[in-house]
């Protein structure tokens, strides 16, 4: 899909020589005059039953150890996700956006990244965060309301979560434009050339920002990969409400290639993402990946999917579970796996228990400190508000020593009137 014939330098696959294929296999994936789809192609290398299959354009070149590593990544991601959901149910997080069911899309793409690549995530990319070395406690801190997601985005090459749908795709594109200006594409040095990935969901494809990002990336040939996890649902709105054509075909209208990959197939996602990243790094511009997957959980812990979708649908997708198919493959192909699976399960359980402990031990933030980060150069007015608020807080010191609130409200919790008069 990413072998763009207009660019003779082509992709990694082009360099290998004999893989140049038309952008569609035969005449299967064409649109009729009305734009409606005929047959939709899906790149798959590992079936839901755990059987490896060939694809004319993409292949998995690693070994079973590699697959075991990704299995571990996916199991840990799922376990962390489950722990976070449980913590929310117990009132320890304000909200959690589960990535249940999307582990292959996230680990497959996350593990395709090179160290120097840069990621702009949504708020659900917990598996990608894992691949980038973001400590899961930092994700929990955001959803606990301790901070707004303040991990070291420079060290992890993983930007802060973006909650407004699609806004980050423009940041990814602009960052990629800057990478190109820095001369970090097409040098041929694998440690130097870099790509940028903008993650988003099917719902975001309706946003203006995503469409503008496509246009800017295309116009400036920016080294960006648009990675869309089509999990079929934008809260309660099905994909049919977002698009009348398969999402990956949108790319051709913007002038770059698009591909649909089985988003529950970690091998295929890795192969497709690797090719797209290489295309970007080598200076051949943007591309769109539609990882066809399913949101097995709710949109967030505040959502109730039983109100808008049938249980049958979930059962259907359970049969395509991204982790189960890898387990089936490993069980079948290599002997003595039982210890491996048990070890990973035990590691995940320990990790989750430790994460829970660390979550409950997160220090509470102080509003007073946050005034420091509004501006690089704080304004006099804000400094005045901060110092007045500090004085106001200090005014309670004596009262606390005598065991009560000045307003007599301490036992009943904070009352709005207690905050009256804050500058």
């Amino acid at each position: 899909m990413f072998s763009d014939r207009r660019h003779p330098r082509g992709t990694l696959k082009d360099k290998r020589g004999d893989r140049r294929t038309p952008t569609t296999r035969g005449s299967t994936a064409v649109s009729d005059a009305s734009g409606a789809s005929t047959e939709v192609e899906l790149v798959q290398l590992l079936t839901p039953e755990g059987v490896r299959v060939e694809h004319p354009e993409y292949s998995f070149d690693g070994d079973d150890d590699q697959i075991r590593d990704w299995y571990r990544d996916m199991v840990l991601t799922r376990r962390i996700d489950a722990e976070a959901t449980a913590l929310q149910r117990q009132g320890e997080l304000g909200l959690w956006a589960s990535c249940l069911g999307q582990e292959a899309a996230q680990i497959g793409s996350g593990r395709a990244l090179l160290k120097q690549d840069f990621v702009f995530p949504t708020y659900r990319e917990h598996g990608v965060a894992w691949c980038r070395g973001v400590d899961p406690i930092d994700l929990l801190a955001l959803y606990r309301g301790v901070n707004l997601g303040a991990w070291d985005s420079e060290a992890t090459r993983f930007h802060l979560y973006t909650i407004v749908i699609g806004a980050q795709t423009l940041h990814a594109t602009g960052y990629a434009m800057a990478v190109e200006r820095d001369g970090l594409v097409g040098t041929g040095d694998p440690d130097r050339d870099m790509a940028v990935v903008g993650y988003f969901g099917d719902g975001a494809t309706s946003q203006g920002d995503v469409n503008e990002a496509f246009i800017f990336a295309s116009s400036y040939n920016a080294p960006v990969v648009f990675f869309c996890q089509n999990n079929q649902w934008a809260i309660s709105e099905p994909i049919e409400r977002q698009s009348r054509i398969p999402l990956y075909r949108r790319a051709s209208g913007f002038g770059f290639p698009g591909v649909r990959v089985d988003g529950n197939d970690v091998l295929a996602v890795h192969a497709v993402t690797t090719a797209a990243l290489e295309r970007a790094r080598s200076g051949n511009g943007p591309s769109l990946i539609e990882a066809y997957t399913y949101r097995m959980g709710a949109h967030t812990t505040s959502d109730d999917p039983t109100k808008y979708r049938l249980a049958d649908e979930l059962e259907h997708w359970r049969l395509k579970d991204p982790i189960e198919r890898v387990r089936a493959y490993l069980s079948r192909t290599a002997g003595g796996q039982h210890d491996f699976f048990a070890t990973v399960e035990a590691e995940a359980a320990d990790y989750a228990a430790d994460l829970r402990r660390r979550c409950l031990a997160l220090p509470e933030p102080r509003l007073l400190d946050l005034f420091d980060w509004v501006y690089v150069e704080q304004t006099p007015y804000l400094a005045e508000q901060q110092s007045r608020y500090a004085e106001y807080l200090t005014s309670f010191d004596d009262v606390e020593e005598t065991g009560g609130s000045r307003l007599g409200l301490a036992e009943e919790g904070p009352a709005e009137s207690a905050y009256r008069g804050i500058a």
């Binding site: 702009f120 901070n147 707004l148 997601g149 303040a150 070291d152 985005s153 420079e154 930007h159 802060l160 973006t162 407004v164 806004a167 423009l170 940041h171 990814a172 594109t173 602009g174 960052y175 990629a176 434009m177 800057a178 990478v179 200006r181 820095d182 203006g208 920002d209 503008e212 990002a213 246009i215 800017f216 116009s219 946050l370 420091d372 980060w373 509004v374 501006y375 690089v376 150069e377 304004t379 006099p380 007015y381 804000l382």
Partner: protein
């Protein structure tokens, strides 16, 4: 010393900024070959190249959003929004993204960007080309908002804004683009966020910014004929407000009239009235009074002169203040 129009002064200031820091880039609609619809960026693409002076697709959210991405990689983008009324498609990127990244990251990220917006009316334009949207941005924590009223300030303030590590919305009074002033490139500029008394007086303080500074100076001159000595303050920075200059003047004259083109409701005049009342209550001889556009959408251009504050509207409010 050079005599330049405000548009040329901004051009010269941007040129200096581009020369001073290779990370400075300009992006916007028609800013390259055309030099911008007001020619503020004329010749810059020719001299600095398409990589630094970027003709953008016609998408304001895209212009600002991609600039945020570039800033995150160490660039200093200067975005041009072609007209005030076209800034709203970029509102989410400015208010929900740009303004918050430093705060969200607990100070780890810096987004040093300038968004230039020609603003205000008086040029006989069609709808959406004469707006004064400054209050929206002043209301947003994390942004700084400045505006120049003359060519000298334009030359210096744009350079200072580009050098700032905080995101800045830079409003340019488009009807003053062609007013000239003598610029001393060797002079030391005033601090970016400092207000300035542009005409001293003792009877009443007029507070204005951008296009209304000239209007207020004309009003003060006319009032002089009637024996009234009006002080005029050019705010220059709308957020933060330089209350030291404002309060000192208000305490001295005891009477304040604020003047802007923007509608009155919850505008800069409202904030000034509140802050002056808080800080100067015992010095005031009259309530702070406000002159502004009316709380209507900006009208068709054939009646815009009736809508915009002018010398008579300002002096009428001065009379009302002095009557207390």
């Amino acid at each position: 010393m050079t005599v330049l129009t405000m548009a040329k002064a901004l051009n010269a200031g941007l040129r200096r900024a581009l020369e001073a820091d290779p990370k400075v880039v300009i992006a916007g609609e028609d800013v390259g070959k055309l030099g911008g619809v007001f020619r503020v960026t004329e010749g810059l693409q020719k001299d600095f190249g398409e990589h630094r002076v970027i003709d953008s697709p016609l998408a304001e959210s895209g212009i600002v959003g991609t600039a945020v991405g570039m800033a995150l990689r160490g660039y200093r983008p200067v975005c041009e929004i072609q007209f005030d009324g076209f800034v709203y498609p970029a509102f989410d990127q400015i208010v929900s993204q740009l303004s918050r990244l430093h705060f969200r990251s607990l100070g780890q990220l810096r987004v040093p960007m300038v968004i230039r917006v020609p603003f205000g009316g008086g040029i006989g334009a069609v709808e959406h080309h004469s707006e004064s949207p400054e209050a929206y941005f002043c209301h947003t924590p994390g942004l700084k908002v400045v505006t120049c009223s003359n060519a000298v300030d334009a030359y210096w303030m744009i350079q200072q804004a580009v050098a700032s590590d905080d995101p800045i919305i830079f409003f340019e009074p488009k009807r003053r683009y062609h007013e000239k002033a003598e610029i001393d490139e060797a002079a030391a500029p005033a601090p970016l966020y400092a207000a300035r008394v542009v005409r001293p007086g003792s009877d009443l303080t007029l507070i204005a910014y951008g296009p209304m500074v000239r209007t207020c100076l004309d009003a003060a001159e006319a009032a002089k004929q009637e024996g009234r000595d009006l002080e005029v303050i050019d705010l220059r920075s709308l957020s933060p407000l330089d209350m030291s200059v404002v309060a000192e003047s208000a305490q001295r004259t005891g009477r304040v009239v604020t003047v802007h083109e923007a509608p009155l409701n919850l505008a800069l005049g409202s904030e000034l009235a509140a802050r002056i009342t808080e800080q100067c209550f015992y010095s005031l001889e009259a309530p702070v009074l406000r002159v502004g556009g009316f709380d209507t959408p900006y009208p068709p251009s054939r009646v815009e002169e009736d809508y915009l504050p002018d010398l008579d509207r300002v002096l009428d409010m001065v009379d009302r203040s002095l009557a207390y």
